[in-house]
């Protein structure tokens, strides 16, 4: 179980956030995780909608911002997924996108669980 967790979350990034807390921002980690868990589902919904409508600009924007927020929490697999989606949408390679979008849901669930465990 811990093996898979390592792949889901980059513990170095989590450690750096924890270090910020010790440097004088108590509660920052929890706050950021909470923000992430609250904000991400809406953005995933935006991405799914844009993808279903074939709105490539919308897909690109949503994937870009999801890439950023996942990067902040070291969710490397998700970051890679979103980076590929962003590239594909920029190049308008529409066909491959739904497959990748389909992989997001289960991966997000794993990240969510890992983040809660890392608390």
């Amino acid at each position: 179980m811990s093996d898979t967790n390592d792949n889901i979350l980059d513990m170095e990034v989590i450690g750096a956030l924890r270090a910020l807390e010790e440097d004088g921002a108590p509660g920052l980690y929890d706050e950021i995780v909470e923000l992430f868990l609250m904000d991400t589902p809406t953005r995933l919904q935006d991405l799914a909608t844009a993808s279903a409508e074939g709105d490539m600009k919308g897909v690109e924007a949503a994937a870009h911002s999801l890439k950023g927020s996942c990067g902040n929490l070291g969710a490397t697999t998700l970051v890679d997924l979103f980076r590929r989606i962003e590239q594909l949408s920029r190049e308008e390679l529409v066909d491959e996108i739904p497959n990748l979008v389909g992989q997001i849901g289960p991966e997000f669930d794993r990240v969510q669980a890992a983040l809660k465990e890392a608390k």
């Binding site: 910020l20 921002a25 904000d39 924007a61 890439k67 927020s69 902040n72 962003e86």
Partner: protein, 650 residues
């Protein structure tokens, strides 16, 4: 308008007011029939007050003169009116030490007022500006309007202060105006007037925030007091500031030093002497001064910073570009998690952080809060980071802000375009916190250098400003009604007094006309104050056009005007008044949805034997105006000869 707002405050019955002996003195001095003996009689009932006044008189007088030992001597030396003002202000200090406004620090307020008063006395003495004891008294009360607002509106003022404590970029005077339609400086001036303080006291308080400069002929007393108050305010703040505050105040202190014409050593001595007298007075009045500034801080700052002092940023008026300081940074990202992480990192590094969620919001916040550095994500909906930067560079206010752009790995090949758009630096995401903060510190260096340039420019501008221009501005502001640009009541009364003296001497005839716009209140009520203002302006313009050379019109009240016609008898004034009446009736005013003419009623009076003074002349024209209103308005009436005005016996 201000008067009206102030009267409302006054009617609340909660404004600070002198009590006990202070109240007795105020009542006595308002009767006009009192002398030194009366004053000494009242004041000497309070030994503490007596000793304070003697102390103040001694501290202000030139060395070498015999020490003042009695109240009588003090009153003779500095003037009875001056002593009564001192007694009044000391009684205010004693009687208003606490209150219900939670955020208002009453102890600090009086401690600061005292420091400002002491500084003003010493500045006045050092620079030969006016009378030291008067400067002391005026400066001691120069912020009393804050106490006034805190007393009348304890909870609202508390909220306002809390907002300012939270966000130091807020300007307290504009918040006060917004909330109370009057600001504390205006309340101070009105209170002083109400307490019977000299007119130049409250004039000086009103002009304290404007630029003025010395002048040989006009309003010398006022201008000197303004300069004294301004310098004293800086010194007073400095006395109470903590170390960081003192650092921030240092450029202003250096200007005071230059204005006083002292070198650094002399200025250090001067500051020490102010601080010592302040502490002495604090003990005398049981006000805390001990936990505020320490003398050694003043010495150190006045003497210049030690180079090894880790916290010093500004050395003798110059900003050291390499020293760390807390910056105001605006962080911009549409993605909340990244924004929160970025803000967290900056805050831990000791910076003040503002946050915006898109380019448009960031643009507004930059212009409003004037941050030192903007750190923005590039890709954002609506206005992206680079567009934000370009927009800022087009605006005067955004030209000097340091702009740091955050780029994704994929965007790095486009950074050349970003630099061309005006960014100062970029950091690629995901970034290491240490690298970001190092880039911010590099930006800090440039920010410091830019501020140094600004500071030098400001000093340069101040030095080269023409004194004559400033003096004229001051005169105009003091004597002009800002809405209509007509002379105001104060100026009008001065002119009328002069004309009255002329009449007494030469017996050349003198007439005046009082005019009042008919049903003006209903214009305001039905069309709003904007239209009301437009009507006042249009009416003023017509009057200016039809007046003869040598006549003068002034706005002396809401919709009330007064025309002075020198060397003119009743016949001539009547013709003049009728010409104005017709011109105004014929002039159609258009403003908003309002399209109509207005009419005026006028009363004419002519100076005659048996009139006691200029006020009797005004009274007569007011009576005539009253007749005109009674006769159906839109007409001119002449004041009946004086003997017919006597009331009939019942």
């Amino acid at each position: 308008m201000i008067r009206k707002q102030f009267d409302e405050l006054k009617n609340s019955g909660r404004l600070p007011s002198p009590s006990g002996i202070g109240l007795k003195i105020m009542r006595m001095t308002q009767t006009d029939s009192w002398d030194i003996t009366d004053l000494v009689g009242v004041v000497s009932a309070d030994p503490a007050l007596t000793s304070r006044i003697i102390k103040l008189a001694n501290s202000a007088q030139e060395a070498g003169l015999a020490a003042i030992a009695t109240l009588q001597d003090a009153a003779v030396r500095v003037g009875a009116r001056n002593v009564s003002n001192q007694a009044l202000s000391f009684s205010l200090v004693s009687g208003n030490r606490s209150g219900r406004c939670a955020e208002f620090d009453y102890d600090r307020f009086w401690s600061l007022s005292l420091a400002t008063g002491v500084a003003a006395g010493q500045i006045s003495k050092q620079a030969g500006l006016g009378a030291p004891t008067e400067a002391f008294t005026c400066a001691l009360l120069s912020k009393v309007g804050q106490l006034g607002l805190a007393s009348v509106h304890p909870s609202a003022y508390s909220e306002l202060l809390a907002a300012v404590h939270e966000d130091s970029s807020l300007e307290i005077a504009s918040l006060e105006n917004e909330r109370f339609a009057i600001n504390s400086r205006e309340v101070t001036a009105a209170l002083m007037e109400d307490w019977g303080m000299p007119e130049y006291f409250y004039e000086a308080v009103s002009y304290q925030k404007r630029s003025v400069a010395g002048d040989e002929t006009t309003n010398k007393k006022t201008i000197e007091l303004v300069l004294t108050l301004r310098m004293a305010a800086t010194l007073g703040e400095f006395c109470l500031a903590d170390e960081r505050g003192q650092v921030e105040l240092w450029p202003a202190m250096a200007r005071v030093r230059d204005d006083l014409g002292l070198d650094t050593d002399e200025f250090q001595e001067f500051c020490e002497s102010v601080a010592a007298e302040w502490q002495e007075w604090g003990a005398n009045l049981s006000l805390s001064t001990s936990d505020c500034a320490e003398l050694k801080d003043i010495e150190r700052l006045a003497g210049g910073f030690e180079p090894h002092d880790a916290e010093s940023i500004i050395v003798d008026g110059e900003i050291d570009p390499d020293k760390f300081r807390s910056l105001r940074i605006l962080a911009v990202d549409d993605e909340p998690v990244s924004l929160r992480v970025l803000a967290g990192q900056l805050k831990i590094a000791g910076h003040e952080v503002l946050m915006a969620r898109d380019g448009e919001e960031a643009l507004a916040m930059t212009l409003e809060h004037n941050p030192h550095i903007v750190i923005s994500d590039w890709m954002m909906p609506k206005m992206d980071g680079l567009e934000l930067c370009k927009a800022l560079r087009r605006a005067q206010a955004g030209r000097s802000v340091y702009f740091l752009l955050l780029t994704g790995r994929d965007e790095e090949d486009r950074v050349v375009e970003a630099f061309e758009g005006g960014i100062d630096d970029y950091v690629a995401k995901p970034f290491n916190s240490k690298i970001l903060l190092a880039r911010v510190r590099a930006g800090l260096r440039l920010v410091n250098l830019r501020e140094q340039v600004d500071l030098e420019q400001i000093t340069q501008r101040e030095k080269t400003a023409e004194l004559g221009v400033l003096t004229r501005q001051l005169r105009e502001a003091a004597f002009t009604d800002p809405l209509t640009n007509l002379p105001n009541r104060r100026f009008c009364m001065e002119c009328l007094e002069t004309e009255w003296e002329c009449w007494i001497k030469s017996k050349q005839e003198l007439s005046i006309i009082t005019l009042d716009i008919d049903f003006f209140k209903s214009v305001n009520d039905n069309h709003g104050h904007d239209v009301g203002d437009a009507v006042l302006c249009a009416t003023s313009d017509v009057m200016k056009k039809v007046l003869r050379d040598g006549d003068m019109v002034a706005r002396i009240g809401g919709e009330e005007f007064l025309v002075i016609c020198p060397e003119t008898g009743t016949e001539g004034a009547l013709i003049c008044a009728e010409r104005i009446r017709v011109a105004i009736e014929e002039n159609v005013i258009e403003s908003g949805g309002f399209k109509s003419n207005v009419t005026i009623s006028s009363g004419v009076s002519t100076a005659s034997e048996g009139m006691e003074d200029a006020y009797a002349l005004i009274k007569a024209s007011d009576d005539a105006l009253y007749l005109a209103k009674g006769d159906g308005r839109n007409c001119v009436r002449v004041a009946p000869p004086r003997d017919l005005q006597l009331p009939r016996s019942a």
